[in-house]
Amino acid sequence: MRKFSWTVAMVFIVILAAQLNAAQATELISLFQQPLLMTSAGQNAELQIAGILAKRAGLTYAISKFAAPQELRGVKTLVLVLGASMKGLGAAGLDIAEEKGRVTSLVEACRKNQIPILCLHLGGEARRGQQTDEFVLACLPSAAVAVVVKSGNTDKLFSRICGEKNIPLIEIEKAADCLGPLKKLFKS
């Protein structure tokens, strides 16, 4: 049943994504299932913001800063909050390569287990840069949907990757606005 739902969802995304612009992408209602596992790609502080918004959206979620593939058991959606924080990485005792290794192993496990990935970039322009871009390039192509604060996409990196991979992209003005897409994207 889970496999079937996911296949239907993927077909839905692919058909829509080929034609949708950002505004239309907000029509992707109930695409993802719960429970969801939330982790950052880059040990950023926006993971906590995403967690609070998930709580406000009434979702069943768990946050794991160091989520590993075995934590995906029973998880229906992986939420990856993109953005490298040197402070966060330092506090975690991780370098970029180690964090990238952790995240790519998660992405790979999701692919194997057909768990859809929702990518969020909530840090705006301040959370862009070479290190963040490494995580964007590593994760975003595997996303089912991406929600991005507009000021973080002024160079259209997210638009370009999402366009190439037919991934629906939802642009929002500020992090708090992610609440709306979260409510819509998940099946209650």
Binding site: Q48, A175, A176
Partner: protein, 545 residues
């Protein structure tokens, strides 16, 4: 008057003819300047600016923290220091952090145990009563107005607010006055803090005792206890700031004063003593030779800091030995020009002596030539994240500055003050003060100050050029060689050469607040101008008249 440049990083010296205030937020500068213009002196203005920073830059300092104040008293032609560093509560034990095991660092930074007894108000009160001219209520007023009316927050505030979101959520919850409807502030939003306004009014009305013995003290103890802390009402009631003699050093014929232990003035002097013997001009600013030699020197200085710095009321700090020229010469001679060293052992000294006599920064110079240089902090951005119920101010996490290992000079202990990296400076030229300088930035403080001083003295930079110039930092951790942290503006060719010598390099942002946010005032007596320099790595600004 020249307009401030559109690019905040472009070096710009604020100018005044008689007086100057530089601080980390324009509203604090305005508060200080208004006090000066109404006849207050440098001490009054510095205290008004400090209160205002609590409202406008609450993540960096405030009445829940502590600090160091260096004063030049023009009429008496002398420098004095006021220390109002936090103290450990009476029930503090040397092993109390170590025994927390893997959770040790969390207890040291975001729990009730992280909170030291705040010294800020006691320090300001001591300085105001002895050297100020204005009533407390007048100095509090601008801060109350900022807290009540609110201020529009900028990118720097929001970035820090976001980085410390977890800390605030943990200890203050979604209802925190430092969050906007439970989420970090976004640029352009308005931060209001009516609780802080009420607290400050209460202090203005009832005096500083209200904080240490009154209702506010009870709120502090309740908040700290609720988060696993050990602070008691008696700890607050017992707190006293102290006035002490400053330390004196000299660099290239310029005598300067800074603060004694538990501050890091001693290590600033030691570092400059080492640099003084080197031909830094011929090496060139931020050349491979320059960065290599200074970094190696920092390795030794940090070994001395780890080995000896503690609260001089409880441990003997070998200040005379650390500041001696032979000690500096030994270190300068140990540095190899073509390779890094394997270890940086601390100095060994004979009989340990007593210190003689005895993280935002702001400086004020008034029309009479008095100078106030204050470095103050609540430690981490947003401190411990704990806000006593209904008070609107953040409590520090300065207990983190203790060495968590028992039996070290800087181990935690009852009533001890943790060692600090703060080191405000007043430097003299031809017998008169010409430079006042300080910075936040944790362990980067004195290395950054030394670089700014060398930029001015050796490389003839203007004050703000010296502040904005690319910085680097190195410290030794035990005997293991760490990476040199550099701002990305340092050329690739320099970094490659440093790597050839054996250094590891960690590249930071072009203007990274990791390296602090220095503020300074330079008095050019020849031209009759007072210059203010404020660091664009944070929201520093200045104003003079």
């Amino acid at each position: 008057m020249k307009a401030t440049p559109a690019d905040p990083h472009e070096p710009f010296n604020f100018r005044g003819l008689q007086a100057m205030v530089v601080a980390a937020h324009p509203l604090a500068v305005e508060a200080g300047l208004s006090v000066l213009k109404s006849g207050g002196n440098a001490v009054d203005a510095a205290i008004a600016a400090s209160f205002s920073l609590n409202a406008a830059e609450p993540f960096a300092s405030g009445i829940g923290g502590g600090g160091f104040m260096l004063l030049y008293l023009a009429r008496e032609k002398r420098v004095t220091a006021v220390i109002y560093r936090e103290k450990a509560p009476r029930l503090t034990r040397p092993e109390m952090f170590e025994e927390k095991g893997k959770d040790r660092d969390e207890w040291r930074s975001t729990s009730g145990l992280a909170v030291g007894v705040p010294g800020m108000l006691a320090g300001w009160d001591l300085a105001r009563k002895k050297y100020g001219t204005r009533p407390l209520a007048e100095l509090v007023e601008p801060a109350v107005e900022i807290a009540e009316k609110g201020l529009t927050v900028g990118g720097n505030f929001c970035a820090i607010n976001k980085e410390e979101y977890e800390r605030l959520l943990k200890n203050a919850g979604e209802g925190s006055c430092y969050l906007n409807n439970g989420l970090p502030y976004e640029p352009g939003e308005t931060l209001r803090n009516p609780d802080l306004a009420r607290t400050l009014k209460r202090i203005a009305e009832k005096g500083v005792d209200e904080f240490y013995r009154g209702e506010i003290a009870s709120r502090i103890v309740e908040a700290v206890s609720a988060k696993g802390g050990i602070m008691a009402l008696d700890d607050l009631a017992a707190y006293e700031a102290v006035e002490v003699a400053p330390l004196q050093g000299s660099y290239r014929g310029h005598p300067f004063y800074t603060i004694p232990p538990p501050g890091s003035g001693v290590y600033l002097i030691e570092l400059l003593n080492i640099i003084e013997s080197w031909p830094v001009e011929s090496w060139g600013h931020n050349s491979p030779d320059y960065i290599h030699h200074l970094s190696e020197a920092l390795g030794f200085v940090f070994a001395d800091k780890d080995g000896y710095l503690g609260d001089p009321d409880f441990v003997s700090v070998p200040v005379t030995g650390l500041l001696s020229r032979p000690h500096a010469a030994r270190i300068a001679g140990a540095v190899r020009p073509d390779r890094i060293l394997d270890s940086y052992p601390p100095g060994t000294f004979g009989k340990r002596d007593e210190a003689p006599g005895n993280t935002t920064h702001l400086c004020v110079v008034d029309k009479d030539g008095n100078i106030a240089a204050l470095t103050q902090s609540i430690n981490d951005f947003f401190g411990s994240g704990i806000v006593p119920e209904g008070t609107g101010f953040l409590l520090n996490d300065h207990m983190q500055d203790f060495d968590p290992r028992p039996e070290k000079p800087n181990s935690p202990g009852p009533y001890r003050r943790p060692a600090s990296s703060m080191a405000p400076v007043i430097m003299f030229k031809d017998g008169k003060p010409f430079l006042s300088l300080g910075s936040p930035g944790g362990v980067r403080i004195f290395p950054s100050l030394a670089q700014i001083i060398v930029n001015i003295i050796n490389f003839d930079m203007s004050l703000d050029e010296a502040i904005e110039a690319p910085r680097f930092f190195f410290s030794s951790s035990g005997d293991r060689s760490q990476a040199i942290s550099v701002e990305s503006r340092i050329p690739e060719s320099v970094l490659r050469r440093l790597e050839e010598i054996g250094h590891k390099i960690a590249i930071k942002d072009a203007y990274d607040r990791f390296f602090g946010g220095a503020q300074g005032i330079l008095i050019d007596r020849g031209r009759g101008v007072v210059y203010g320099g404020a660091d664009s790595r944070r929201d520093g600004t200045g104003q003079g008249y």
